[in-house]
């Protein structure tokens, strides 16, 4: 079972790696949707491996598919469509890192996640290959830092959440259902609110030009 988890974990890492160098926003949203499905699959497998833990994990997997896999991408895509005439052309205008640079940095982060985990947490947690969720977390933060486009930052945050779900399931055996459900509801609210903010923000950027950075310094 652990090997299956490893394969899923690396699948998520590769998906995040692709998000890292992809600049087309719609494709990034699709990739996020795919990674949410992987998370749901992970939860189902977790539920199968622990038959005594009732059916909560299956409900959680269903919620994950409905909210993270379908609704959130749908909300984002609709906001994107409303904002642009050609939503398929929306992209990160000036990527901070090229494809090569972002890949190298991601790989370095995965290695760093591994070394940190191995040297500090492994002796306590005793979970083999538990560094995968940490690597995912670091990659997601890289995604937020290196991108300016609001949607991509938002997706970076959501990937981070996915990493936490994976961490809690894999390393600790999951959070209580009520907490997980609350987290998912929060996420949904957050996406709706930030889609609104993003919409207004893009409007004002279109109207005024570049962002006013000087008033937000110091």
């Amino acid at each position: 079972m652990n090997q299956t988890f490893e394969i899923l974990g690396f699948l998520l890492i590769v998906l995040t790696l692709v998000m890292q160098w992809e600049i087309n926003v719609q494709r990034i949203i699709a990739l996020f949707s795919a990674s949410s499905f992987v998370i749901a699959l992970f939860l189902v497998l977790l539920g199968l491996s622990r038959p005594n833990e009732e059916y909560m994990l299956f409900i959680l997997a269903g919620l994950t598919i409905v909210v993270r896999g379908i609704t959130i991408p749908l909300v984002m895509n609709r906001a994107l469509n409303r904002l642009n005439d050609k939503p398929w052309r929306v992209r990160e205008a000036k990527p901070l890192l090229g494809v090569g640079g972002s890949i190298l940095l991601s790989l370095v982060l995965i290695a760093i996640g591994y070394f940190i985990y191995q040297n500090s947490l492994y002796s306590v947690l005793k979970v083999k290959s538990g560094s995968v969720p940490f690597a995912l977390f670091l990659q997601a933060s890289l995604l937020i830092i290196t991108h300016r486009h609001a949607y991509i930052q938002m997706i970076g945050f959501l990937v981070m959440e996915n990493a936490v779900v994976m961490l809690s399931g894999w390393v600790f055996g999951g959070l209580p259902f009520i907490v997980e459900a609350g987290v998912i509801l929060d996420l949904l609210g957050l996406v709706v609110v930030s889609s609104l903010i993003i919409r207004v923000r893009e409007h004002s950027i279109l109207k005024v030009g570049d962002t006013v950075e000087s008033e937000l310094r110091g």
Partner: protein, 314 residues
Amino acid sequence: MLYLYSFIEIIYVLLAAPLIIGVQRSLEERIESKQGPSVLQPYYDLAKLFRKESIVPQISSPVFRFGPYAIVMFYAFLAMILPVITAFPLPFAPSADFIGGGLFFGAAAAIKKFSAIDSRSNYAHLGTSRSASLAVFAEPITVLIFIMLGVISNTNNPFVINHVLRSSPQWYFSLVHGFVLAAFFMILIVETGQLPVESHTNGELGMIDQAMPFEYTGADLAMYKLGSYMKTFILLSVFLNVYILPFGVPMESSGFWGIIIYMGIHLLKLLGLIVIFALLNTTVSKFRLYKNFDYLAVAFAFAFLASLAYYIIK
């Protein structure tokens, strides 16, 4: 007997290499609903070229003449030391391990470049510089891939790697192997000049290997072409026999007929891979020249992920 096998192996590679290319060309045209050339067209080309006179640029040196012959020699040697039709080492195999084989490939590529530069043609220079700049990034990835397999099998011997992978499913189905496969497949596309990297047209904006033999004619060109066919054939064979389908490659106990039968099976395996390449070549569009480096970065990512996966999962 082992020497006989070596001899058979060289003859097999020499004879079958153009066939594979012919099948691929024909298949690509068929996929695009065209008539397409005969499967045997590369043989006809070679036969025609061998009968023709070679013309040499006035200002070139002997390197230009001897280059193609040296290349074919190198690849014939490689055919003897790598597992093409046998899963046990033949008499020349101990002369080089996997990294040594990689170095021979590199040496052949270097000779190719020297002889192309020696033609003093602008196009050949263009192709050489492009090919060299890609190789600078592709070679380390190849080395990394070999090292990862060395880590799995504790050796650099391709025959041992074949044994390890066919006998231990926990390695064959491991993430390390998966990532190595992905990286090696991407490198294969670069080395054999398939589509996302290089197209088979003579458009000067995109051509890489196509540009290098521009000044060759007659028998020289035939040798040159034969060399590149052999390179493709040997690389694909190694990919199939060592990495992706290590099963069924004959051991010493299979005997003479076992090896003869395996030749047919091997051609079928190659055919499968060729179908994939043909599909790629007819569906994917070419990258811009500078995007090739991004492509190589992705290949590097897979190779590096393989090593990370090895340590993380260990």
